[in-house]
């Protein structure tokens, strides 16, 4: 029971990171293209300025919870995905210092360098998290000792790449909608046409990804045995369709909300389909890491649950307060 609760919390933590980190990664990729002048680019990065650092802690927590609740899965996952994770890491490091260092010198080449750092540092995690999660859904060749028997090319299979492109498109649309919500004038106009334009590729990638899921993974098994769960992918599809409708009606705030919902239900679709596995083995089903053979002891899971039930709501309350504080119009500098 505790294992199942933590499995769900584990999935939700990743989903929350992708919802929040998703828009700041999206803005990071889009800002050099949507912003033409120096002032525009600066304003675009300003729209994620107070939030990106706090958002990233959801990633740290998701990683920490993987370690704490399912150590065997954490160990195999992180060592098997060694090279892509290093790219994610370097991306996040370069991005963080680029955002902070950008305005510390009055030089356009300096800012250009920083913008490149933000772009690359946002692009790599956006793409590679998608590749990683698609491979988790699909399963990877792990042996009975939890040792990965593949290489980088094993991970760069068509399904992994489709997952990467799907995540990338998701975050780009999400970022564009965030910019529309947070900016004025010409960058807003550009983002509107960009969001409308990107919706179709996103939807195509979603369809391709779902289609490939049936071939590459066993995610659909849980849905055929318990059809009630189909409500999750249906909500994801409904959110994606309503996003287009709201864009057409120019209800941009609501379109942003539906994009939050698309990300949340897409990740939840994968996680619920994966249950009870954290990392299926493609060599032998018996080698798969699941909540049964990868979880921490019940006492550790219970202690962590108490900590999470107390502190996660507190975190949500103060982060919500911070969002309200900086989303209020008019009192900014």
């Amino acid at each position: 029971m505790l294992e199942s609760i933590w499995f769900l919390l584990w999935g939700i933590l990743w989903a929350v990171y992708f919802m929040l980190g998703g828009f700041d990664l999206g803005v990071g990729i889009l800002s050099p293209f949507v912003g033409k002048s120096e002032a525009e680019k600066n304003a675009l990065l300003g729209s994620i300025g107070p939030f990106w650092d706090g958002n990233e802690v959801w990633l740290i927590t998701a990683g920490g919870v993987t370690f704490a609740a399912f150590p065997a899965a954490y160990a195999t996952l992180f060592s098997a995905f060694y090279t892509p994770l290093m790219f994610v890491l370097f991306g996040l490091i370069v991005r963080a210092v680029s955002i902070e260092f950008r305005n510390r010198r009055e030089s356009s080449s300096w800012r250009g360098l920083a913008d490149a750092g933000v772009l690359v540092g946002s692009f790599l995690p956006a793409l590679l998290f998608g590749v990683a999660f698609a491979n988790i859904f699909k399963g990877i060749p792990i042996d009975g000792d939890g040792v990965f028997q593949g290489n980088l090319l094993t991970l760069l299979n068509p399904y992994g790449l489709a997952g990467g492109l799907f995540f990338l498109a998701l975050f780009l649309v999400h970022g564009a909608l965030w910019i529309i919500h947070r900016s004025t004038g010409v960058t807003r106009e550009r983002s509107r046409s960009l969001a409308r334009f990107l919706w179709l590729p996103l939807t195509l990638l979603a369809v391709i990804f779902l289609f490939l899921t049936a071939f590459y993974s066993r995610l659909w098994d849980n849905y055929t045995t318990r059809p009630i769960l189909l409500v999750i992918p249906l909500l994801a599809v409904a959110a994606l369709l309503s996003m287009r409708y709201l864009m057409a009606k120019a209800l941009w705030g609501r379109a942003l909300l539906s994009s939050f919902a698309v990300i949340f239900f897409s990740v939840l679709f994968g996680v619920v389909g994966l249950y009870p596995y954290l990392l299926p083995s493609t060599l032998d089903g018996a080698y798969s890491l699941s909540i049964r053979n990868a979880a921490s002891s019940p006492s550790t899971l219970a202690i962590m649950l108490v900590v999470a039930l107390i502190f996660v709501p507190v975190v949500i309350i103060y982060q919500a307060w911070v969002y309200r504080l900086f989303l209020k119009e008019g009192s900014g500098s």
């Binding site: 002032a39 600066n42 304003a43 990065l45 300003g46 729209s47 300025g49 107070p50 650092d53 706090g54 990233e56 802690v57 740290i60 927590t61 920490g64 919870v65 370690f67 704490a68 609740a69 150590p71 065997a72 954490y74 160990a75 195999t76 996952l77 992180f78 060592s79 995905f81 060694y82 090279t83 994770l85 890491l89 996040l92 490091i93 370069v94 963080a96 210092v97 955002i99 902070e100 260092f101 305005n103 510390r104 010198r105 990965f148 921490s296 002891s297 006492s299 550790t300 202690i303 962590m304 900590v307 502190f311 975190v315 103060y318 982060q319 911070v322 900086f326 009192s331 900014g332 500098s333």
Partner: protein, 440 residues
């Protein structure tokens, strides 16, 4: 090179580099909170200028610390997966609790503080830097508790061949953790005190912004002196504790090869690990090690020869790091005392001002030496007595680790140089030169 050595080098690079930025975050956040509180209380604009000047430096330092901290959490999985699998039940929750309880608070309110000058009342704004200060110190405390468990595993039972948490209280409140927390926080405050004094000395020597920097100098001096005195006393307790929990490390610190009563300390010694003896021994103080370790000059102290060779740490590195740490720490204490004696005539003490400026790197070196003592001295164990470092490493190709290690060296060197240069530039500009952040 084998994958264990490469992974150790990579972890060393990542941790040393990360810890170049941690001490200032821990100490300066507290000083900023004090400065801003003074501003809120007195409405004296000078305190506001002071807060903003030190705040610009703080933010540059903070972002590198945070960005390079993620590496450490990831590396347990990427490079030390067998370790992670083995200790996950105890070590994992400590990291997860750290993120949930402390790191969220720190990272959320740093944004509020950096960009909220015009959005918050002065009181709430000052409260946000207090939250950052409390949370970053709390974060360090949880990480040190996790490290203390690797140094002295407690509160577990063995189940199916690996340690399972049986008593969280024992893990959190164990003596070693308390000592390591006091030691590391105090050392970080000394580092901050010297940083602030050094930067203040730069401007005082140039007779500019005198009022602000004499005030800053005094705040830095108080912090440096109080905690330098504290760390000497506490460091002694920390060392004495080793006699009980890690005799091999203690024996290496004082190159004591023979189990003996009245164990000596040598003023100068050079260990020869293959001969299991010292090739040079000068200035023997009989009974000094027994006295320090057990508070009795006749107490018996275990020597390295009674520890199986495969369980001994690299003696020379541990010994030299310890000696240098203590020696340079002593120099810092003397400089702090000197600064205190001339605190009212600091403007007319050009030599002292120069010393203070050039002393800035010293406490950083002392901190890294301290971590060398703690971590190299724990070898060959990753978890003392439970798991050897060679068994902790991930089953990844050494070529993968070689490439990532090279990438860490290059990327961190570039970031380190840039950060140093930007901080130096912010220091030189002095207060008042408000640089623009985001146009929000």
């Amino acid at each position: 090179m084998d994958v264990t050595l490469l992974s150790r080098l990579q972890f060393a690079v990542a941790t040393y580099f990360h810890f170049l930025f941690v001490p200032l975050t821990l100490g300066l956040s507290i000083l900023l909170a004090i400065m801003e509180t003074a501003y809120v209380r007195t409405k004296n604009e000078e305190y506001r200028e002071m807060t903003q000047f030190w705040g610009r430096i703080f933010l540059l330092n903070f972002v590198v610390g945070v960005a390079t901290g993620i590496t450490l959490e990831f590396q347990f999985g990427t490079n030390w997966s067998r370790y992670s699998r083995y200790v996950g039940d105890i070590f994992g929750p400590l990291l997860a609790i750290e993120a949930t309880v402390a790191f969220f608070l720190e990272s959320t309110f740093i944004g509020v503080w950096a960009l909220g000058w015009n959005r918050l009342s002065p009181r709430l704004h000052a409260a946000s830097i207090w939250l950052v200060a409390i949370a970053s110190n709390l974060s360090a405390i949880w990480i040190l508790i996790a490290n203390a468990w690797m140094q002295n595993p407690v509160g577990y039972v063995m189940k199916a061949g690996h340690p399972v948490l049986s008593d969280l209280g024992a893990v959190v409140f164990q003596g070693y953790a308390g000592l390591a927390i006091l030691h590391t926080l105090a050392a970080s405050y000394v580092t901050t005190g010297f940083f602030v004094m050094g930067v203040a000395a730069y401007h005082i020597a140039r007779k500019q912004f005198l009022s602000i920097f004499i005030r800053s100098f005094r705040i830095g001096l108080s912090m440096a002196l109080i905690f330098a005195l504290f760390v000497v006393i506490e460091g002694h307790m920390h060392g004495a504790n080793l006699a009980h929990i890690q005799p091999a490390k203690l024996a290496s610190l004082e190159v004591n090869w023979v189990t003996q009563a009245k164990a000596p300390i040598f003023l100068i010694a050079l260990p020869d690990e293959s001969a299991a003896a010292n090739s040079v021994e000068i200035g023997k103080i009989p009974g000094a090690l027994s006295l320090l370790a057990f508070h009795s000059p006749s107490a018996k102290v275990i020597g390295l020869r009674d520890i199986p060779k495969e369980n001994r740490p690299p003696v020379l590195i541990t010994y030299l790091a310890f000696r240098l740490m203590v020696g340079l720490g002593g120099v810092l204490l003397l400089v702090a005392i000197g600064a205190w004696l001339r605190r009212n005539r600091i403007e007319s003490s050009p030599f002292l001002l120069k010393v203070l400026l050039y002393a800035i790197p010293l406490p950083y070196a002392v901190s890294l030496l301290g971590w060398t003592v703690a971590e190299v001295g724990r070898q060959p164990w990753v978890v003392y007595g439970l798991m050897r470092t060679t068994r902790a490493v991930s089953p990844v190709a050494s070529s993968q680790v070689a490439v990532s290690l090279a990438a860490f060296v290059v990327v961190y060197a570039l970031i380190g140089i840039t950060a140093f240069w930007l901080i130096a530039q912010a220091v030189r500009k002095g207060p008042g030169a408000a640089d623009r952040h985001y146009a929000s």
